[in-house]
């Protein structure tokens, strides 16, 4: 499972972030301060998780034992980076609303 976790970690962070934002916006409809603040907190937490994953995958890519491990680490690293951008982008509506 560890390999799959490394490969999909960033995308899982994105999914958790998205559904948390959806839940916040649905439970607290409108653009109240509480809803926006909660959304920003969730976004920051997801960005932190992505940053940690990027660091972890970077190290794993550097110390990979063979082709498969290296490939999984590099793909996971790119996935975490993509997730970082997407999570950040997705947080903007809470800031701008």
């Amino acid at each position: 499972m560890g390999k799959w976790g490394l490969l999909l970690g960033g995308l899982i962070v994105w999914a958790v972030d998205f559904f948390a934002l959806y839940a916040i916006a649905s439970i607290l409809p409108g653009t109240s301060f509480v809803a926006r603040a909660l959304a920003i907190v969730v976004t920051l937490a997801a960005l932190a998780a992505d940053a940690w994953l990027i660091r972890f995958a970077w190290k794993a890519a550097g110390s990979a034992g063979d082709e498969v491990d290296g490939w999984i680490a590099r793909t996971g690293l790119a996935g975490a980076a993509l997730s970082f951008v997407s999570v950040l982008w997705q947080g903007f509506p809470a800031i701008l609303a």
């Binding site: 390999k3 490969l7 999909l8 995308l11 899982i12 994105w14 999914a15 998205f18 559904f19 934002l21 959806y22 916040i24 916006a25 649905s26 439970i27 409809p29 409108g30 653009t31 809803a35 926006r36 959304a39 034992g65 063979d66 082709e67 498969v68 491990d69 490939w71 999984i72 590099r74 793909t75 790119a78 996935g79 993509l82 951008v85 997407s86 982008w89 997705q90 903007f92 509506p93 809470a94 701008l96 609303a97």
Partner: protein, 845 residues
């Protein structure tokens, strides 16, 4: 090199072996894998037959839906046209969309997977050949019956997304909507069966050495495609079930007067519907990636980024469903999140597009028919993608919602993203299943007619939409200025159809089905499907050392043909393939595959009969058909999971593998877990419905359930789980009696029945009336789901007991025993969670 399973990768160095192999081995393989003849041919299960049947059926539905499209365009060519009546027009556009989405696009991708995947992985077949046959026959018989409804003017007529209240009993009193709801729900079951087959196929039947980093992109795409089906399709199964229950039993899930809400349908439908677009696109993108590299005669640029893009598209596609609902008055912040996600999904799509363009640029492409179709696909898909980003912008979306702009957009996406790649694939892979390749000369005509026809049809349609013409209208008035663009679109549709007709002529002239004497590698591909193959796939299963093995090892084809790799013979005298590990594809065990059987086909026909007879309200024949499914399924399964004479078998190169495996290493375990994911998702969507309806109509909700009932309910489910675990423990103990393990399962089934009965009686004693409110209707839905699981659990426990009596439950571990244990445990867990949720929320906490 590290190992995933304990297998020593140094053993790969034994291959290719050098000793000569006797011809008798090939003769035996031919005999074992030969397809039945005469009428028995219908019972064939080999993927190279079922795959072709499946593709043929899906293409037939493409043609039928295409004819409906021509009728639509003819009707709209002129204002106040009267070619079709209003009612028939409604049926025609509903069936066009429904058939294209449900009977063509998704099944075609599954069909291509069933045909190509085992060959690309150099597996002898998919791991559950009979399941493939079942999926095909269920889809084909159900699809034909469903389509036939249009000849009786009984076809669905509420649009391919069947929005209530239009599709509710009050506005659609006939059986048209029932046909859609039961027909589509059933066809999705066939799709899920195929998806489970593909997931296990990709993860467990790859050739040794074909690690995740060396998998063909199409295999990656199919893995993600099938995973998405498991997550997305339960939503449509649930919403069709809920609407049918509302129509048949007056349970008000979508009736706002009794606490339901039509928006619930839209959420559930689009949670399936938008990912479905990517479910169609991703396998096609996988095909494009394979063909772009082969036709450019170079390695695919950005392999790992393309894999990432496929994975990212799958994830993000589940966060965009509400962009179909921007005009419904959703919370503003929520709209912002969905808009952002809808734009973000263009990042992975862009990664793939740039990788394909870079591959073309880096290689030396020849401008043959498949290349032309690929370039046409890229151009068309980019246009559709750009209008997609426009539609993600909320203010623009508001302006063009439900206009012909949307129709133009999604046809660009689907024709560019799936139909053109499919035609490219037909030309590219035809040499694998036909004695002759298709004609290059005719193919270029086919392409240019289809490409220009497509652009002429749909480019002006953007303008029609921007000028305000709504979708799904039967006709329009002359003074609206929509006539010119509509006429152009109609001319384009007939040009497109001429291209398809020419393709049929090419097909008739050149396609000659074969599994042995095929035309071969016409376009010089480098992946394993181009190894010479017979009914048993390749003579031996190679060790994979790169992503394009045929390019990197010129001797590979001959070595495989001469049996110098794994499994050059039948090790046990049965149909077999090698099961490998999910990450590194290390050989784990030898799987014995079932052969031809009539039972999957009969099971499929009777399952189809059950659902489709219900739609015409022939209740007793439907029940009779449903009852017949059970003996057919049991008879089908009875032949499987038999004790094997020898624990281990030589698979070539002096390597011996086990002939049996249980637990997470076994392919059956993966299949059952996949099935449980589907069941869990149906349940999770019901939980979503529970909270959604509570959130929008809180004032209808009350504390209805008595929490004290949880004591016997949770006690019963807890006891069932404990008994299952005890039974599994006892099976592994040498000193347990013959009957003790299955007895625990029978007792567990009894405990499940007790807990379910307590749940049901508890609600009955509370005087619950499912017609009175959506809350009560949802409680009954949870109970209905649980009742089905308990019924299946009881049948499974009895099945294990009977197999045990016949000495078919092997010890200390047994696959059937394991998978039944998983199912029973899940049933107990879901039952407990449903009971707790409905009794404790709202008010019980």
């Amino acid at each position: 090199m590290t190992s995933e399973t304990g297998f020593d990768p140094e053993l790969y160095k034994r291959f290719p072996t050098r000793e000569e192999r006797p011809d008798s081995e090939v003769e035996e393989l031919d005999r074992i894998w030969e397809a039945p003849r005469g009428w028995a041919f219908l019972t064939v299960v080999n993927n190279n037959y079922i795959g072709v049947f499946y593709i043929g059926a899906a293409f037939l539905f493409f043609l039928l839906a295409g004819v409906l499209a021509l009728l639509i365009r003819t009707q709209l060519a002129l204002p106040l046209n009267g070619i079709l009546s209003q009612e028939i027009y409604n049926q025609v556009f509903t069936m066009h969309g429904t058939v294209m989405m449900f009977l063509f696009a998704v099944p075609m991708m599954e069909a291509l997977g069933i045909l190509l995947l085992p060959q690309m992985l150099a597996a002898r077949d998919l791991p559950f050949p009979r399941l493939s046959a079942y999926a095909f026959w269920a889809y084909f018989t159900g699809g034909l019956f469903f389509f036939a409804s249009i000849f009786f003017a009984l076809a669905p007529n509420s649009g391919w997304f069947m929005y209530p209240p239009l599709s509710s009993k009050i506005y659609s009193p006939g059986i048209n909507a029932d046909l859609w709801l039961l027909g589509i729900g059933f066809i999705e079951i066939a799709a899920i069966a195929g998806a489970i087959e593909l997931i296990v196929g990709v993860l467990k039947t790859r050739a040794p050495g074909m690690t995740l980093a060396r998998m063909p992109i199409f295999a990656w795409a199919l893995l993600v495609f099938a995973g998405m089906i498991l997550i997305a399709f339960p939503a449509i199964i649930l919403c069709t079930l809920l609407l049918e229950l509302e129509r048949a039993l007056n349970w008000p899930f979508f009736d706002a007067m009794r606490g339901g809400d039509p928006m619930l349908w839209q959420h559930l439908f689009w949670f399936f519907g938008h990912p479905d677009v990517y479910i169609i696109f991703l396998p096609a993108a996988g095909l494009i990636s394979m063909m772009v590299a082969a036709l450019s005669r170079t390695e695919l640029v950005g392999y790992h980024l393309i894999v990432l893009a496929i994975l990212a598209t799958a994830f993000i596609s589940f966060g965009v469903w509400s962009h179909h609902m921007f005009t419904t008055g959703m919370p503003r912040l929520s709209i912002g999140f969905f808009s952002a996600a809808s734009m973000a999904v263009s990042i992975p799509a862009g990664i793939q597009l740039f990788a394909w363009i870079a591959t073309f640029a880096a290689g030396k492409p020849r401008y043959n028919t498949p290349t032309l179709f690929l370039i046409g696909a890229l151009i068309t898909f980019v246009i559709g993608g750009l209008t997609g980003v426009m539609l993600a912008l909320v203010p623009f979306n508001w302006q063009v919602h439900d206009t012909h702009f949307i129709v133009a957009h999604f046809h660009y996406v689907l024709i560019g993203g799936a139909v053109f790649p499919m035609f490219a694939a037909f030309y590219y892979w035809m040499g694998m299943t036909s004695r002759r390749p298709l004609s290059e000369r005719l193919g270029k005509w086919v392409f240019w007619l289809m490409f220009t026809g497509m652009q002429i049809t749909f480019l002006p349609m953007h303008l029609t939409g921007l000028m305000g013409m709504p979708r799904r209208v039967w006709t329009y008035l002359p003074h609206t200025d929509w006539m010119a663009t509509n006429m152009i679109s109609t001319v384009g549709a007939f040009v497109l159809a001429a291209g398809v007709l020419l393709f049929l002529i090419d097909l008739a002239r050149n396609f000659r089905f074969t599994v042995r004497h095929d035309a071969g590698n016409t376009y010089g591909g480098g992946t394993l499907e181009w190894l010479r193959a017979g009914s048993y796939s390749t003579r031996s299963i190679p060790v994979v050392r790169s992503r394009q093995p045929l390019w990197d090892d010129p001797d590979l084809r001959d070595d495989v043909d001469k049996g110098r790799y794994f499994l050059p013979f039948s090790a046990t005298g049965n149909r077999e393939t090698i099961i490998t590990s999910p990450v590194r594809a290390e050989p784990q065990y030898l799987q014995i595959l079932p052969g031809p059987s009539v039972w999957p086909m009969l099971s499929a026909i009777f399952t189809a009969g059950f659902f489709l007879l219900l739609t015409i309200q022939a209740y007793w024949p439907a029940v009779f058909s449903g009852v017949l499914v059970l003996p057919c399924l049991i008879r089908w399964l009875w032949d499987t999971d038999r004790p094997v004479a020898s624990d281990h078998a030589d698979v070539g190169g002096g390597i011996r593998l086990p002939t049996y495996s249980t637990g997470p290493g076994s392919h059956s375990w993966w299949a059952v877990v996949s099935l449980l994911v589907v069941i869990f998702m149906i349940w999770l969507m019901t939980v979503f419905s529970w909270f959604f309806l509570y959130g929008v109509h809180t004032y209808f909700w009350a504390e209805m359930g008595e929490p004290l009932w949880l004591i016997p309910i949770l006690g019963g489910y807890g006891a069932a789980a404990g008994l299952v675990l005890l039974g599994r423990h006892l099976l592994a103990r040498k000193d347990s009696t013959l009957w003790s393990p299955p007895t625990q399962f029978l007792l567990a089934a009894g405990a499940l029945m007790f807990a379910f009965a307590a749940d049901f009686i508890g609600w009955r004693s509370a005087g619950i009336d499912p017609e009175a409110s959506s809350q009560a209707a949802l409680v009954m839905t949870f109970l209905a789901q649980q009742g089905q699981l308990v019924a299946v659990s009881v049948i499974m426990a009895l099945y294990v007991a009977v197999r045990n009596a016949r000495g078919l439950i092997t010890r200390p571990r047994n696959v059937t025993f394991d998978v039944v244990a998983l199912f029973l445990l899940y049933t107990a867990g879901q039952g407990a969670a449903s009971a707790a949720l409905t009794r404790l929320f709202p008010g019980g906490f």
